[in-house]
């Protein structure tokens, strides 16, 4: 475990009613870097993310944030420090401003910056603050969800296929905004995607998960130019797009 690793997973296993979803996963995410988690649908990527902010509990293994076992941290503090953006954003009834201020409001606080600043950061005009959340397009919803996560002033961002439900243009814009925010704020990010090109564009490192097991891990260029395993090469070649949940 290096001093500069913000997140470290050690031998993490997750079983759900006896079935192995993730097995013996270990890796580290250096501070300020973006890690892409790649893998086919059903590989266990979303489950892996939900372990990192303790929305779910590993069956075995330990996860460290800044060297501390996350089970020893106050769970509310952990979740404030480790923000999450889901594939399909859930906005609450009310205005965009209400939603952006929602995270801090759960603790009776206000966001550190004015709402307009978060809107600007996600590329929306200040007038959006008063908009009803019902009137937004998919891309706008995802931007508001990103702004809402940022208003908690997180140190780590967990992104679960944040662009997968969007059309091409919106997906591209959201991808750029997320990358920009991460770099600008120096966030550490774990970015789940099954889009190889996206992983190549945005990430510093890659972890490939197939059937609940870590198949490959390394710097993004290395992974894309010289994958170490047969399964890794097959995945890159696009041969492994079907659900493969068997743990071998």
């Amino acid at each position: 475990m290096s001093m500069t690793d913000r997140l470290v997973l050690e031998q993490v296993t997750k079983k759900v009613s006896g079935r192995v979803i993730l097995q013996d996963i270990s890796f580290a995410v250096p501070q300020g870097s973006i890690l892409a988690v790649l893998g086919p649908s059903g590989a266990g990527k979303s489950t892996l993310l939900s372990l990192l902010n303790r929305l779910e509990e590993p069956t075995a293994g330990t996860i460290y944030l800044d060297g501390k076992d996350i089970r020893t941290l106050d769970v509310f503090v952990l979740r404030r420090r480790v923000g999450m953006v889901f594939q399909r954003p859930t906005l609450f009834p009310g205005t965009v401003a209400d939603n952006i201020a929602y995270g801090p409001s759960l603790r009776g606080e206000k966001p550190p910056l004015p709402v307009a600043e978060y809107l600007r950061e996600v590329g929306l005009p200040a007038e959006f603050a008063a908009r009803d959340t019902q009137s937004l397009s998919g891309g706008e919803e995802q931007r508001v969800a990103l702004a809402r996560a940022l208003a908690n002033d997180p140190e780590v961002l967990l992104l679960d296929e944040p662009t997968a439900a969007l059309d091409k243009t919106a997906a591209h814009q959201v991808e750029e905004l997320v990358t920009y925010s991460c770099r600008q704020r120096g966030l550490t990010a774990v970015w789940v995607t099954h889009d190889l090109k996206q992983a190549q564009r945005v990430s510093d490192r890659v972890v490939l998960i197939i059937g609940g097991r870590k198949i490959e891990e390394g710097p993004t260029p290395d992974f894309f130019y010289s994958p170490q395993t047969k399964a890794g090469r097959a995945f890159l070649a696009g041969h492994l797009t079907k659900v493969d949940t068997e743990v071998r």
Partner: protein, 255 residues
Amino acid sequence: MSYLSLTLSLSFVGLAMLISFWQRLKLERDLFIGTVRAFIQLTAVGYLLKFIFNLASWQYVALMLGVMVLVAGQNAARRAEGLPNAFFLVAPAIAVAETITLGMLVGLGIIPFTPQYVIPISGMIIGNAMVASGLTLNRLRAEITARRAAILTTLALGGTSRQAAEPALKAAVKAGMIPTVDSMKTVGLVQLPGMMTGQIIAGISPVEAVKYQILVQFMLSASVGITSMLVALFGYRLFFTSAHQLRLPSTNPSR
């Protein structure tokens, strides 16, 4: 009413059996069992009540109320499939509602603390609380399942399970109270309540019977409100771990 006319009332069951036989509904057996059970249970309760009324001892009244609460709690908990500890939630909620409502009725001098009043009125309080707690629990589960994404969003932003469950909680309390509130709106117009009907038949003036019915209606709204609120307030915890993680019972639909 004479035993002869009571015996003759069996002809109604006979009529129902004839219909079942004629239409091949195959309900004869169930009808027979139902008839026998209704006869035995009601007769037994009649004698039991007579016994308790004669004793006029508060210990026996308390014992009877305790049994009523336990049976009601078990019945309501059975409806909440997949929630193994539902009984320990529902039975205390019903007990609290019964205690508060009955306490107010007696404390304010609205009814005297005699078995003749306390037991039938408690029967109504507990029976309605039982139905309300079943409705509240089932609705709570349905709302939490349906709002899974919103609940996870609130938790992920650092909210407590209580904050995450708040909308589901409100909907569940409402669902538990709605039948009672609705019946307050239509009572007397659509149906004459059983207690009032019984009093009128037994020869009590309709105006007098109505007074009691109004009392009953108001007190039921209190007991149902208390039960639903308690069941929802404590029941949402069954769906979360102590680390504020959502834990849906039994199978996990559409992840």
